[in-house]
């Protein structure tokens, strides 16, 4: 009965949102803007969400979320345009799509490929939305049992795992980036005793470092510098034919679509891991399980489907830890967290009590966003691909101005600009040196949670760390953290390989022994 009631509430919300013409206009415009941001190489959905956060400041929470989630969904899908038509991924999330999408375009099947990615992306988002609705109450229930130790360990785990999985070079660099983010979160008056930390007498730093300008700086400025320094040129665009939804191909590939969606949701729900990893893992899984792996990379439709379903399924997956634990599942989700805080919504286990219908509302928005994305993709793809002809030297300076006015308008504080630019320039150097930026941002966001909960936990236990080992969830998290760290060291890998060798050798010896003496068996 309760489930039916929830389903009823959900569809009521979808209907309420869709009944308002203003919402529909915002939804379609935001999806279109998201697709443009995703399609243009050098721009990402994270940047789109970051820049649009400033515009949503005056909106109510539901409309703001409608706008931002639509950009997120549209941006994740839009990356496939550039991947398919010019072989340059519009976003990192669609890099795997280029492997088979571009060969398809070269064969004169660009319209078919974009039609398929549009439908696949919409399906991916809808499946992830179903997971968000069904898993959230469960996670929320467990999270309510968490105490300060668990929250500290969870925040710490989020930063570590994000650093481990997003580092393009050495894992240590990912961890360093995470801890640098934690340091940035320490700046300002501390939450328990109001003591000024690293403020150097500057009163503007007393309230701490604002998350949104840091995010805009960390994602926007390096992008502009990188694209223009490397003299990025867009190649020749492949011809785009009629776009068809290809429902027949979709129906034939349903098991693969479900597998890719599960991969996307799973990876999306891991803190700080973005759509790009989901797409690559899904692509790899599709190739490894295919009867014709040799066709991959030469225009295999399953390759395109698997990566696109997974990267869009990541959107709903990233919402699961964001809404239930207050831990963003991906960089754009981190940006959404900043936006939610601006609107007075604090995601976490208490969200179901403070805003009982909020998760349902997000799910309803995801459904509407995916449907709008499908409609816009099917009808306007031919027009949208024209933006690929705009040179980076023209749109990147405009993005620069948007970064500046966006950072300033949140709080109308010029100090935000003074902060955004150094963060951006430092982030550029860090990226050039192989440090990932996602853990840094996750560190800035989760820092206050880790700091406050560590001290609160120690206050309750009177300075004892023993509860970590006596509470099952704490102990599990602690062991996972230790394993995450230890597994990165060569000594551990050598030990593991030796152990595996021994076990397998013994097993093979036993097997040999059994075959030598069959009468004994």
């Amino acid at each position: 009965m309760m489930i039916l009631e929830r389903i009823g509430t959900y569809f009521q919300m979808v209907f309420d949102l869709a009944a308002d013409p203003q919402h529909i206009v915002i939804l379609l415009c935001s999806v279109l803007l998201g697709i443009i941001f995703g399609a243009m190489p050098g721009l990402t959905s994270t940047l789109g969400v970051a820049l649009l956060t400033a515009l949503t400041y005056g909106m109510d929470t539901a409309t703001a979320m409608l706008c931002l989630l639509a950009i997120y969904v549209g941006g994740t899908y839009g990356g496939s345009y550039a991947s398919i038509l010019i072989n340059i991924p519009g976003t990192a999330a669609s890099a795997a799509t280029a492997l088979d999408g571009y060969p398809l375009a070269c064969k004169g099947e660009a319209g078919r490929a974009i039609g398929l990615t549009t439908t696949a992306s919409a399906i991916g988002t809808i499946i992830s939305m179903l997971f968000l609705v069904s898993i959230s109450p469960l996670i929320s229930f467990f999270a309510l049992q968490f105490t300060s130790f668990e929250f500290f360990l969870l925040a710490f785990f989020g930063i570590l795992i994000s650093g481990t999985l997003t580092s393009p070079d050495l894992v240590i660099k990912g961890w360093i980036a995470g801890f640098l983010g934690l340091f940035l979160s320490c700046v300002g008056r501390d939450l328990l005793q109001f003591y000024p930390r690293f403020t150097f007498g500057i009163s503007e730093l007393d309230s701490g470092i604002e998350v949104v300008p840091v995010l805009i700086g960390a994602f926007g400025i390096p992008q502009i510098i990188q694209v223009l320094r490397e003299r990025f040129q867009i190649g020749e665009t492949q011809k785009l034919q009629r776009i068809l939804p290809e429902f027949g191909t979709i129906v034939r590939n349903i098991p693969k679509i479900i597998r890719s969606a599960l991969i996307g949701v799973g990876i999306g729900s891991v803190p700080g891991i973005g759509e790009d990893i989901a797409a690559w893992v899904s692509y790899g899984a599709a190739k490894n399980t295919s009867k014709h792996p040799e066709r991959f990379g030469k225009g295999e439709i399953t390759g395109v489907l698997s990566s696109e379903v997974a990267n869009n399924a990541c959107v709903g997956g990233a919402m699961i830890p964001l809404l239930n634990l207050g831990i963003p599942g991906s960089p754009p989700a981190a940006m959404l967290l900043g936006a939610l805080m601006l609107h007075g919504v604090t995601p976490g286990p208490m969200i179901t009590f403070e805003h009982p219908t909020f998760i349902m509302e997000v799910a309803a928005i995801l459904l509407l966003a995916s449907l709008s994305m499908w409609v816009v993709g099917m009808l306007l793809a031919k027009q949208v691909v024209k933006v690929l002809r705009i040179p980076a030297q023209i749109f990147m300076p405009v993005i620069g101005i948007l970064c500046i006015i966006g950072s300033y308008s949140l709080g109308m504080n010029i100090w935000n600009l003074y902060l955004m630019l150094p963060v951006g320039i430092i982030s550029y150097f860090l990226i050039e040196m192989g440090y990932p930026i996602a853990p840094l941002v996750i560190g800035v966001i989760l820092g206050p949670m880790a700091d406050e909960n560590l001290r609160r936990a120690l206050m309750v236990s009177q300075g004892s760390f023993l509860p970590i080992f006596t509470r099952p969830v704490s102990l599990t998290l602690f062991l996972v953290i230790v394993w995450t760290v230890i597994s990165q060291f060569p000594a551990y890998r050598k030990f593991k390989n030796k152990l595996m060798d021994k076990v397998f050798r013994r097993k093979s010896c036993e097997a040999d022994f059994d075959t030598d003496n069959p009468e004994e068996g």
Partner: protein, 254 residues
């Protein structure tokens, strides 16, 4: 990202810098109250505001050291010595003079001057127009010689503006002439456009690019600024000549 071999050499230095940064955090955190009284509250170590920064600083130190050790182990002491020699040789100057680095300087100077010099003092529309026209022409022309000439022209203008504000000239002239700084920047903007036109007038392709750049540079701040100022009701960081004009039009203040 830099290629792996060069990256390992750079990691030795970045590891060292990160280690020192971590040490600085620990040093700063050690000045925070650990067991002393703060705001009438007697502290204990586990609620001290220093606890978390100490932990973060120590971890940064440790990881920096690990990175330094890993990188040094990979490249070896001999290569490390070679990179040290390179840092103190003329090759470094040659590297810093490459076009790719010049492109970075140009962007850094543009952003720094916009954020720290122009936006807080000069009308937002004019600051944004100057930023966009310089940025677009420098990079859209896509010629190293032109980039260099335009960059140095802009640098000279920015240096002049810096002296103008730092020397207190703005206060003195501003008392006599309203919107003096905005008029000055408008002059700089026009001067830049004339200089750029002089440089490219021989090429029809570059002339077309210049016109496109000019339209974007004028149109974008007007559209973005109008949305923020009149629809989202966000006052501009600095409101001067153009804002006064748009206010007059918007509110019919004639």
């Amino acid at each position: 990202m830099i290629e792996k071999e060069t990256l390992r050499k750079a990691d030795v230095y970045s590891g060292l810098i990160i280690f020192l940064f971590g040490a600085w955090i620990v040093w700063q955190a050690s000045k925070m109250p650990m067991k002393d009284s703060w705001g009438g509250v007697q502290n204990v170590w586990f609620v001290s505001p220093a606890l978390f920064p100490l932990f973060v600083g120590a971890m940064i130190m440790l990881l920096g050291l690990l990175l330094f050790r890993t990188a040094l182990k990979r490249i070896g002491l001999k290569t490390f010595g070679d990179t040290l020699k390179w840092l103190f040789s003329k090759n470094l100057l040659r590297f810093l003079n490459t076009v790719s680095i010049l492109r970075f300087y140009a962007m850094a100077v543009l952003f720094l001057s916009l954020v720290y010099l122009n936006i807080p003092r000069i009308d937002f529309f004019l600051s944004a127009m100057l930023f966009l026209i310089v940025f677009i022409t420098m990079f859209y022309f896509d010629e190293a010689v032109l980039l260099k000439k335009l960059f140095f022209f802009y640098l000279a203008g920015t240096a002049f503006l810096f002296i103008y504000f730092a020397g207190g000239l703005d206060d003195r002239i501003g008392r006599i002439l309203p919107f003096a700084k905005d008029i000055l920047v408008l002059g700089f903007l026009l001067g830049y456009c004339v200089y750029a036109w002089q440089l490219i007038r021989g090429s029809s392709l570059l002339r077309k690019k210049f016109r496109t750049g000019l339209i974007i540079a004028v149109g974008t701040p007007l559209i973005i600024g109008m949305i923020f100022k009149y629809f989202l009701l966000v006052p501009m960081p600095s409101e001067g000549l153009v804002v006064a004009l748009t206010d007059a039009i918007w509110y019919f203040e004639f």
